[in-house]
C-alpha cells in the first residue's frame, strides 16, 4: 500500500527521519519497499519558489489571441509579468505562481520535471507560471488554473495546499490486513515509538438519523454485515485539494467528491465503501444475493460480465448492480447529476471475493482488502465517517441508516504468559513492557491473558501469536547465540561422501557439471503435469541423457571444444505405491566413442572402489552395437542420429553404484610377497567376448590370480578367417609366500587349459 506521510501525521505526531521510520517498520511491522516523493520536490529551496499571487492586471496578449498577459502581485516591490493560456480568472483573482528556477513534479515525458525560466512568449516577458492543479500534483484535471479565496500575496504556496509529500511503499504480509490502512500503519508507528495515537474517525454516532434503508441480505455466509446510509440533496463536484492530493499519493485517481470520499475513508480505515445513485436503483433498496448463472452485469470499467451462481452480487429489484466487494456497476454509479446516494459499507467473506475476483480477472482496492479479511467491526465506523464527510463536502442531508447482520464476532480471549515470550525469543522483556506493547496494539490485559482487538482477531488466536507481537518489537535486541547441544554430531553419510567422490572424479576427468530441468517435453512417463506452464516443462523425466544431449548440442553450436558434461540428478520412475520411485543418477556425455565412455565408467567404478560387470545392453539413445550394462546402469556410444560425430554416454544409478563400493577398503599386503607378472596371448574365434575369456581365466586360476587385463586384440591373415588373438597381462600373488616359476607355470597352464576347453583357444605366446 502507498502511504502518504502527511496522512499518517493526522493520527500520530512523528519527528523521526523517514529513513529511520522505514527501517523500524520493516523490522517490526511490514516491509517498506521504498520512499517516494509526491508533488513538488522539497529540495534546494524549490518549495519556496511556489507562492500565492494576486492578479492586478490582465489583458489579451498583443501578439496571441489565446494568451492572457497578466501582472501578478507576489508581495514584492513590483508585480511580475506572466503570460498565461487560461481564461478562467481575471483581475483580482488569487492564484498559485511558480517563479523562475522552480522545478515542477515529474510527468509523463518529463521524468525530471520541468524547470521554469524567465523568457519571452510571443515577444512579451513571462516571469513565472500561473499554476493548474495537475501541474503540481494536486489533481488529475487541467480544467484551468487554481483560483483561491483572498490570501496575502507572497504567502508560500506550501502553507496553503499540500504541495509536497513523501509516500511510504508498505508491503504488508497476508496475515496483516490491518496494515492495508493509514490508521493501521499509524497504530504500528505509535506502538514502535511509544507515541500517542489519535482516535480513529467515525467511531461515535453524531446525530445518526432513524430513517430506514431497504436492505435484504440473502447470504450471511458471504456477507456478514451490510451498513447502508442515504444522503439526500448532494452536489457532485470536486473533493478538497488535500483529499485529492493524498489520493494521488496513495495511487488513486480523484473522480468526484462523493467517490473520492469513499476511497479516502477506505484507505484511512481499511474498510471498503461504495456509493450508488439511489435514483438508479429499482425499488430503492438493496438485495445481497447470489447471481444467477449467466446473469449479466456491466462493471464500472465498462466490461460486461457473465456471472455465475458462485458470484455474490448487490442487486436492486430488477438486476445485479455491483459485484460484491469487487466493483460497482456502470448503470448505478454516481454521476454529475446524482442528488441522492446510497452508501454501502459491508463485509464480504474473503474466499468468495477471491474466487470471483479470479474468475473475472478483476482486482480492485476493495477486493484486495476483502481477500485478506476486513475487520467487520469497521463497517459502521467507515459508513458513519464517510457520511459525515459527504455531508460536509458535498452537502445534502443524512436521512437514513441501516445496519444488517447476523451477529458480529466477539473479541477473542487468549491465555498468555509473559515468561513464555522470553523463553521463545531468547531475550528478556519485563512483563509490564510486554503489556505496554500489547496495549499500544489494541490488546487488553485481562486475567491470565489478553483480549485480542477485532482487527487482529483472524490472525492472533493462540499464545504463540501473542508472543510474536512481542518478538517483532524486540528483533533488534535478540542476541546471537547457538543451541546448547548435547546429543548431536554432524557427519556426511557414506552415500553423501561417495557422491562427492564421484563428482570429484568426473571433474578430475575434465567433465563440467551441469544442471538441467527435471521436467521434459517428451518423456514416456505417467507423471505428467495436467497443467504445465510450458510444453518444455511437462513430464517428470525417467532418464537424464536426453537433456544432456540437448545441452551438448547447444555447446556444439556455440563452438565449444573438448565437450564433456555430467549431471547428478533424480529420475522419477513408476513405483508400486501412489508416488514415483525417485532415484539419483549420474549421467554424462563426452567427446569420443564407446571406448572413451567405457573408460570413464571404469574410472568412476575405480574411484568408488567397485567392480563393474559389463554385458551387452541397449538404450534408445545408444548405438545398438556399442552399448553395455555395468550393473548400475548403461554406458555406450551415442546413437549416430542424436549428435554428429562419436560421443560416449553413460547413465548410472548412485544407489547401485554405492552398494557395489568396497569402501571402506581392507588393506592387502602386496609388498612382502611380490607379484609375478606374465603376458598371455590366445587365438580364439571372433565371437568370443574378451569379458568371457577373463571370467574363465579367473575361474581357472583362483585366488592367486590378482590382476588380469586385456591389452591387445589382433586380427591377421596368419590367424585365419574368423579368428582373433587376444593378449592379456596377468599378475599372480599369494598372501603367505613368494610364488616361484613352478607356481607361475602351474597357473598359466590352468588358464590356458581352461580357455582351450571352453573356447578352443590356442596358445599363441
Amino acid at each position: 500500500m502507498r502511504v502518504p506521510v502527511s496522512w499518517l501525521r493526522d493520527y500520530v505526531a512523528m519527528d523521526m527521519s523517514l529513513t529511520e521510520l522505514a527501517t523500524k517498520l520493516s523490522i517490526a511491522s511490514a516491509e517498506i519497499e521504498g520512499i517516494e516523493t509526491r508533488g513538488v520536490a522539497d529540495e534546494g529551496g524549490n518549495l519556496g519558489l511556489f507562492r500565492i499571487g494576486k492578479v492586478v492586471e490582465a489583458i489579451k496578449h498583443p501578439n496571441a489571441d489565446r494568451l492572457q498577459l497578466t501582472k501578478v502581485d507576489l508581495g514584492e516591490a513590483e508585480p511580475r509579468s506572466i503570460v498565461c493560456g487560461a481564461w478562467n480568472f481575471g483581475v483580482g483573482a488569487t492564484v498559485a505562481v511558480a517563479l523562475p528556477g522552480a522545478t515542477l513534479p515529474a510527468r509523463p515525458g518529463l521524468p525530471d520535471g520541468l524547470t521554469l525560466e524567465r523568457r519571452k512568449v510571443r515577444g512579451e516577458i513571462s516571469d513565472g507560471m500561473i499554476l493548474a492543479e495537475d501541474e503540481i500534483g494536486l489533481g488529475a484535471d487541467h480544467e484551468g488554473i487554481m483560483v483561491f479565496p483572498e490570501i496575502e500575496p507572497g504567502t508560500p504556496l506550501a502553507d496553503v495546499v499540500p504541495l509536497s509529500d513523501k509516500v511510504l511503499l508498505v508491503e504488508a504480509t497476508g496475515n496483516r490486513p490491518d496494515l492495508q490502512s493509514i490508521y493501521g500503519v499509524a497504530r504500528e508507528i505509535a506502538a514502535i515509538y511509544d507515541l500517542d495515537l489519535a482516535e480513529a474517525p467515525g467511531q461515535f454516532p453524531v446525530g445518526t438519523p432513524g430513517g430506514p434503508v431497504k436492505i435484504q441480505v440473502d447470504d450471511y455466509e458471504r456477507c456478514s454485515r451490510y451498513v447502508g446510509t442515504i444522503v439526500q440533496g448532494v452536489t457532485i463536484g470536486h473533493a478538497p485539494l488535500i483529499m485529492k492530493a493524498r489520493l494521488l499519493g496513495a495511487g488513486m485517481r480523484p473522480i468526484s467528491n462523493v467517490v473520492d470520499i469513499t476511497n479516502y475513508v477506505m484507505l484511512t480505515l481499511g474498510s471498503p465503501l461504495h456509493a450508488f445513485d439511489l435514483a438508479t436503483l429499482s425499488g430503492g433498496g438493496i438485495n445481497v444475493r447470489r447471481a444467477g448463472d449467466g446473469e449479466k452485469l456491466t462493471t464500472l470499467d465498462g466490461v460486461e460480465r457473465a456471472l455465475t451462481a458462485d458470484d455474490l452480487v448487490i442487486a436492486d429489484d430488477a438486476r445485479a448492480v455491483a459485484l460484491a466487494g469487487i466493483m460497482g456497476g456502470a448503470e448505478t454509479e454516481v454521476s454529475a447529476d446524482t442528488h441522492t446516494i446510497l452508501l454501502e459499507a459491508a463485509n464480504f467473506e474473503s474466499h468468495g471475493v477471491f474466487r470471483s475476483s479470479e474468475r473475472h480477472r478483476l482486482r480492485s482496492e476493495a477486493s484486495s482488502r476483502f481477500e485478506k479479511g476486513v475487520d467487520p467491526q469497521l463497517a459502521d465506523q467507515a459508513a458513519r465517517w464517510a457520511t459525515e464527510l459527504i455531508v460536509e463536502f458535498a452537502g445534502g442531508t443524512w436521512t437514513s441508516w441501516n445496519d444488517v447482520h447476523a451477529g458480529l464476532p466477539g473479541r477473542p480471549f487468549v491465555e498468555f504468559r509473559p515468561e513464555r515470550s522470553d523463553a521463545v525469543i531468547g531475550v528478556e522483556t519485563p512483563a509490564d513492557e510486554q503489556f505496554r506493547i500489547l496495549g499500544k496494539l489494541g490488546f487488553e490485559q485481562r486475567g491470565e491473558g489478553v483480549v485480542v482487538p477485532s482487527w487482529r482477531a483472524r490472525d492472533v488466536t493462540r499464545e504463540i501469536d501473542v508472543v510474536e507481537e512481542i518478538a517483532r518489537f524486540r528483533l533488534e535486541e535478540v542476541p546471537f547465540t547457538l543451541p546448547q547441544r548435547r546429543e548431536m554430531f554432524g557427519v556426511l553419510t557414506r552415500e553423501q561422501q561417495l557422491r562427492r567422490r564421484l563428482e570429484d572424479a568426473l571433474v578430475g576427468l575434465g567433465f563440467a557439471e551441469t544442471y538441467t530441468p527435471s521436467l521434459r517435453p517428451d518423456d514416456e512417463t505417467t507423471w505428467k503435469l495436467p497443467e504445465p506452464i510450458s510444453v518444455d516443462l511437462t513430464a517428470l523425466r525417467t532418464t537424464i541423457l536426453p537433456s544432456l544431449v540437448e545441452a551438448v548440442a547447444r555447446n556444439i553450436d556455440a563452438g565449444a571444444k573438448n565437450i564433456a558434461l555430467f549431471e547428478v540428478a533424480r529420475v522419477y520412475l513408476s513405483g508400486d505405491g501412489d508416488l514415483p520411485t525417485e532415484r539419483v543418477r549420474v549421467a554424462g556425455i563426452v567427446e569420443g566413442g564407446f571406448s572413451r565412455a567405457k573408460g570413464v565408467a571404469e574410472t568412476i567404478y575405480a574411484a568408488l572402489k567397485a567392480e563393474p560387470e559389463f554385458a551387452r545392453g541397449e538404450h534408445r539413445l545408444l548405438h545398438p552395437g556399442k552399448a553395455a550394462t555395468t550393473g548400475a546402469g548403461i554406458v555406450g556410444e551415442l546413437h549416430p542420429r542424436e549428435l554428429d560425430g562419436e560421443w560416449g554416454a553413460f547413465e548410472l544409478d548412485l544407489e547401485d553404484l554405492f552398494a557395489a563400493s568396497r569402501e571402506p577398503i581392507t588393506y592387502t599386503d602386496v609388498i612382502t610377497y611380490p607379484a609375478v607378472r606374465q603376458d598371455i596371448a590366445v587365438v580364439v574365434a571372433e565371437d568370443v567376448a574378451a569379458g568371457d575369456i577373463v571370467a574363465a581365466a579367473r575361474a581357472a586360476a583362483g585366488a592367486e590370480l590378482r590382476e588380469i587385463r586385456v591389452f591387445d586384440v589382433y586380427r591377421g591373415e596368419q590367424l585365419g578367417e574368423g579368428k582373433k588373438s587376444v593378449a592379456f597381462s596377468v599378475a599372480y600373488q599369494a598372501d603367505d609366500r613368494t610364488l616361484n616359476d613352478e607356481d607361475a607355470t602351474r597357473l598359466r597352464d590352468a588358464i590356458v587349459n581352461a580357455l582351450a576347453t571352453e573356447f578352443s583357444a590356442e596358445l599363441r605366446a
Binding site: 516491509e31 542476541p479 548431536m488 554432524g490 567433465f511 530441468p517
Partner: protein, 335 residues
C-alpha cells in the same frame, strides 16, 4: 730392442693434446691415441723388462690418466654449461593442456552449506520431490485458503500430489522418523509455477534447516544464521531479522544479510537499504510440532529456508538465473 722413445716428450705431447682438446670427442680421440690399447705407452708397458722402466712408464701413464680425467671433467662442465645456456624456453608459452572439469556453482554452494551445518552438528538429508498435499501443506499448517495451495502457484499432478514447493516437508519427514533432539539441513530441488525470468525459474534449489530441542530460542536461530551467512559470504557479514509471515513458523522472520557490495551503506544491489533478503525463517509453529506428536511445551524448534540459486547469484554476481540451467560451457568453465 728398437729405439727407446723419449717418454718425457711423449708425456708432454699427450698432456698438450689433452689440454688442447676442445670437446669430449676430441679428448677421447687423444686418449685413445696416447693411452689406448694400441698406444705407444701400452705397447711399451707390454714390453717392459726391467723394474726401472716399468716404474717410469707406469708413472707416465698414471699422470696422463689424471690429466685426461681432469680435462674430461672440465670439458663436461663446460659442455653442460653451454647446453644449459642454450636450453632456454619461452616461459610465457602455455603448458600442456590437461583435463580439468568444473563443479556447477550450485553444487559448490551446496557443499559449502553442508559443511557449514556439519560443523554445527547437523545431519544432511534430502527427501522426495513429488509430495503429497498432506506433507507439502497440511502438516505444515498451511491454511486451507493459502495461495500456495492453488494450482496457479503450485504444480499439481492430481488433487493429492504436487511437486514440492519448498524443502519444508523434510521437517515433517525427519520429525516422524526420529525422536528429538534433531538438527538437520535438507537440500534439494523445489518447484513453483513461476514464469521464467532473470530472477525466477520454476525449478530451483533450497536449503532448509530444522532444529528441534528443549529450550531453543529465536536468539539461537539468529546465531545459527549468522554462522551460516558468514560461511557463505565472508566473516564481515552481519545478520538482522525482519518480521514476516509463514504458515509453519511463529514467530516468523525474514533474515537479511548485510550487503557485500556496499558494505551496508546502500547500493543498487541492496536497493539502497544496505541489506539483502536471504529467505524465510522462524520458530516452528506449535501446530506443526503437535502434528508430529511432539508436545510444544516440552520441545521447541526453529527452521529456515534459503534459495541456492539466489545465493549463487549474490555470491558470483550472476545477473540471469537461466545461465545456471543451460549447460553452457562458457558459463560452467568459469566456476
Amino acid at each position: 730392442m728398437t729405439d727407446t722413445p723419449d717418454w718425457n716428450a711423449y708425456e708432454a705431447e699427450a698432456a698438450a693434446a689433452a689440454q688442447s682438446a676442445a670437446s669430449s670427442d676430441e679428448l677421447e680421440e687423444a686418449r685413445v691415441r696416447f693411452l689406448g690399447r694400441k698406444s705407444d705407452i701400452a705397447l711399451g708397458l707390454r714390453e717392459v723388462r726391467d723394474r726401472e722402466t716399468g716404474m717410469l712408464l707406469n708413472g707416465v701413464r698414471t699422470r696422463l690418466e689424471e690429466t685426461f680425467d681432469t680435462r674430461a671433467a672440465r670439458l663436461a662442465d663446460d659442455e653442460l654449461d653451454r647446453r644449459l645456456r642454450e636450453e632456454i624456453v619461452d616461459v610465457t608459452l602455455p603448458g600442456d593442456e590437461l583435463p580439468l572439469g568444473h563443479l556447477h556453482p550450485i553444487t559448490q554452494i551446496r557443499r559449502m552449506v553442508e559443511d557449514a551445518f556439519l560443523g554445527l552438528g547437523y545431519e544432511v538429508r534430502d527427501d522426495r520431490e513429488v509430495e503429497t498435499v498432506e506433507y507439502n501443506f497440511d502438516k505444515l499448517a498451511f491454511l486451507p485458503t493459502h495461495s500456495a495451495r492453488s494450482p496457479r502457484d503450485t504444480f499439481f499432478f492430481d488433487p493429492n500430489h504436487v511437486l514440492r514447493t519448498e524443502t519444508s516437508p523434510s521437517q515433517i519427514h525427519i520429525m516422524e522418523e526420529k525422536e528429538p533432539p534433531l538438527y538437520m539441513v535438507s537440500i534439494g530441488r523445489v518447484y513453483r509455477r513461476d514464469a521464467i525470468t532473470a530472477t525466477r525459474y520454476p525449478i530451483f534449489h533450497q536449503f532448509e534447516g530444522l532444529a528441534v530441542d528443549r529450550g531453543l530460542t529465536l536468539a539461537d536461530l539468529k546465531g545459527t544464521l549468522l554462522h551460516v551467512m558468514r560461511a557463505l559470504y565472508g566473516p564481515e557479514r552481519k545478520v538482522r531479522f525482519r518480521t514476516h509471515y509463514f504458515p509453519f513458523t511463529e514467530p516468523s522472520i525474514e533474515p537479511d544479510v548485510s550487503c557485500g557490495i556496499c558494505g551496508g551503506s546502500g547500493c543498487r544491489t541492496c536497493k539502497y537499504s544496505g541489506w539483502i533478503e536471504m529467505g524465510g525463517a522462524g520458530m516452528v509453529d506449535p501446530t506443526v510440532l503437535a502434528n508430529v506428536g511432539l508436545d510444544p511445551e516440552e520441545w521447541s524448534g526453529f527452521a529456515f529456508g534459503c534459495g541456492l540459486e539466489r545465493t549463487a547469484q549474490l555470491r558470483h554476481d550472476i545477473p540471469d538465473i537461466r545461465a545456471l540451467w543451460e549447460g553452457d560451457l562458457r558459463v560452467l568453465r568459469q566456476f
